[in-house]
Symmetry: C2
Subunit: 401 residues, 2 copies
């Protein structure tokens, strides 16, 4: 497996575009289009927030069919809490896209991200979709990655080449964060492409597994959005024999590739969390079971007191103990070890006699890794987050002004 | 019912002291003592964090007996994650206090608050307890309120006089926050006194009910501490007939008085949340049941995105909809109304056509009140919190430096 250039358009037969449609107040790109030259097998995972944005409802419905050929995405307006008109507008985005590309509107998936509660400026959207359709290109992955950004400070794009059944296979992906990023995918959009030959059921299964190990283990601020979406399109033109029934060596090889791409995107999202100065990996080891591992890791990764201490390069392990204690995971506090990088801070639930200056230095590591050994079982998990800085407040206090 | 001066020492027969024992680096008061001239009926509620501090373990054990006569509290060191030595030190605090006051050590309850993971400086503590015992006074409630503070910016003290069975009854209380304040009582200490004639079972029942409606509905930053404690001492010298079997008109009158005192203390705690510029009351109405009401209110009160918007006087109601959506409470998004004060922002899940300038003005109200009508049932709840400001980060980044 090796990293390659090109993001989602590294995969042959995939075209993309990202253009400024005037939805954002600035002149930044705010409309993206992803297109496969032939219908692709598609799978998706969506927000669990019960206040669900209109485009999510439409994409979920269109994904009842196993194929799709385009995804249209706008930033600057979430089309959430917008009632019947919002739903009509989301549908209209798919029909305009279908007309521009000469495909059925049910082959078009749609996403929106941005401010909640305002109707989309449909005139600008319509012109934007036309402009995006005209600028589709097999080098457009980077533009699309830019056009889906909201408070992200840089575009997130990854691609790899791996081998399945002895044949080369590519997987590409783009993603945007960076506020409202939390369990079960907060305002988090990610689009993945691959040329792997894989059936619909196996593709959905691989996506579910990988999302659960990556995007669902990313938490910036505990808030999850009304719009979260991860979609994968498989062009199926690679030369290996088809991956079926979500099992076997080839299926595993595909999952490994997808896991690599999504882990890289999640790291980029966490590193670019609103106001983040550090990427933080929280590793919980030897929990009683996976559920306990996730509870303990999440309690640490989401604790404002832990996150502000990390911002300050302060090895305040008492806050880590407090956090796992409130998590409701089962463990004996006096069997817990905590490490910063490889350096032992807490042994058997108490100060391991570490050196504060040395610990402070370890906050310069990238990522900052906190490992918590609960010594209660055999379940491990990794979760990604960032620190809490002054800028988190500034960005979110000024968001609509 | 009327508010009176004196805090916990407004109740006859209660003495208190607060002195600087040198536990904190500064020369601030850091050791408090509360003493009743005769043994009082005592009840307590403690942290649910599974990493439980040594003083909590000791106080829980001593409260197996229904009476207590003193509470010793230090700030500056939490005596948590301190193992066997920590447990011995907590026990020793009760025995030193018992010796100084000439009472059995099992009549002494103990609390600590401050940094986790360091052993108590027992020499300073011992001298401090002696000094506090020597300065006990029936005007010492204010000093005790000061001595229990950590990052609090002012002491919290309340007292009322009410009538039970036609006779005057007093209830006083002190409390400290202000970081790690969250569900089920984060580093939150509160001590209450009363002269009400009430039996042990009724006192515990009243305390449980009131704590659930007040301290457990306070959330500053989702973190809950290893040390949370609420203790009430009843001197029982009021002249009404005894309140028994936690029922009846007199029991209800006592609960009402206690509810008033604790609500006032909770408001002070929220207003003094770390970095807070505003006291925020989140009211959820017409939830399907109490559990749903609490989930929805907590999701709003704990959302960093909602709290930063409040800091910025931004009526970003989309974030409120997002927060209730992630709460897992059951409701129809398009039946939800949201008010800021009395002003309708959201009607049937969508923009009510409110005026942004008018909404911005309403953030000057004290408290800022957000009411969410879920129109899903008959359960209501009130939760208290504060906004998130730059200072939250500053205070917590600098905590140990």
């Amino acid at each position: 497996m090796k990293q390659i250039d090109g993001g989602i358009t590294a995969v042959k037969g995939v075209q993309a575009a990202g253009i400024p449609a005037g939805i954002k107040k600035s002149e930044q790109k705010d409309l993206a289009l992803i297109y496969t030259e032939k219908p692709a097998i598609a799978a998706g995972v969506f927000t669990k927030n019960s206040v669900t944005a209109a485009p999510v409802l439409v994409s979920r419905q269109h994904l009842q069919k196993p194929t799709a050929q385009a995804i249209v995405i706008n930033s600057g307006n979430a089309n959430a809490c917008t009632g019947e008109i919002g739903l009509e507008n989301a549908l209209r985005m798919t029909s305009i896209t279908g007309e521009c590309l000469g495909i059925d509107k049910e082959q078009v998936l749609v996403s929106s991200t941005g401010v909640i509660g305002q109707q989309l400026p449909m005139e600008k959207i319509e012109k934007g979709i036309q402009a995006a359709a005209n600028s589709l290109s097999s080098e457009g992955g980077g533009d699309a990655a830019e056009a889906i950004m909201t408070t992200d400070t840089y575009p997130k794009s990854v691609a790899i080449e791996t081998t399945i059944g002895g044949k080369p296979v590519k997987i590409g992906g783009i993603a945007k964060g960076s506020g409202m990023v939390a369990p079960n995918m907060a305002t988090m959009l990610s689009y993945l492409t691959t040329n792997a030959r894989i059936d619909s059921k196996s593709l959905q299964s691989a996506l579910n597994t990988v999302v659960d190990n990556t995007y669902n283990q990313l938490t910036v601020d505990t808030d999850r959005s009304t719009n979260d979406t991860v979609i994968i399109l498989a062009t199926r033109i690679a030369e290996h024999s088809e991956i079926v029934q979500n099992k076997g060596e080839d299926y595993q090889a595909f999952c490994n590739g997808l896991q690599f791409v999504c882990t890289e995107l999640v790291r980029m999202l966490a590193r670019d969390g609103e106001g983040a100065t550090k990427l933080v990996e929280v590793v919980v080891k030897h929990a009683k079971n996976r559920d306990d591992a996730e509870k303990a890791a999440r309690a640490v990764a989401e604790s404002p007191l832990v996150k502000t201490a990390i911002f300050a390069n302060d090895a305040n392990w008492g806050r880590i103990m407090m956090a796992i204690g409130k998590s409701e995971a089962e463990f004996d506090p006096y069997k817990v070890n905590v490490l910063l990088g490889d350096y032992l801070l807490v042994q058997n639930g108490m100060d391991a006699g570490y050196d504060e200056d040395k610990a402070t230095q370890l906050f310069n590591n990238d990522p900052v890794q906190i490992t918590i050994n609960l010594n209660a079982g055999n379940a491990d998990i990794t979760m990604w987050t960032c620190d809490y800085s002054y800028d988190y407040i500034r960005i979110n206090a000024d968001y609509r002004t």
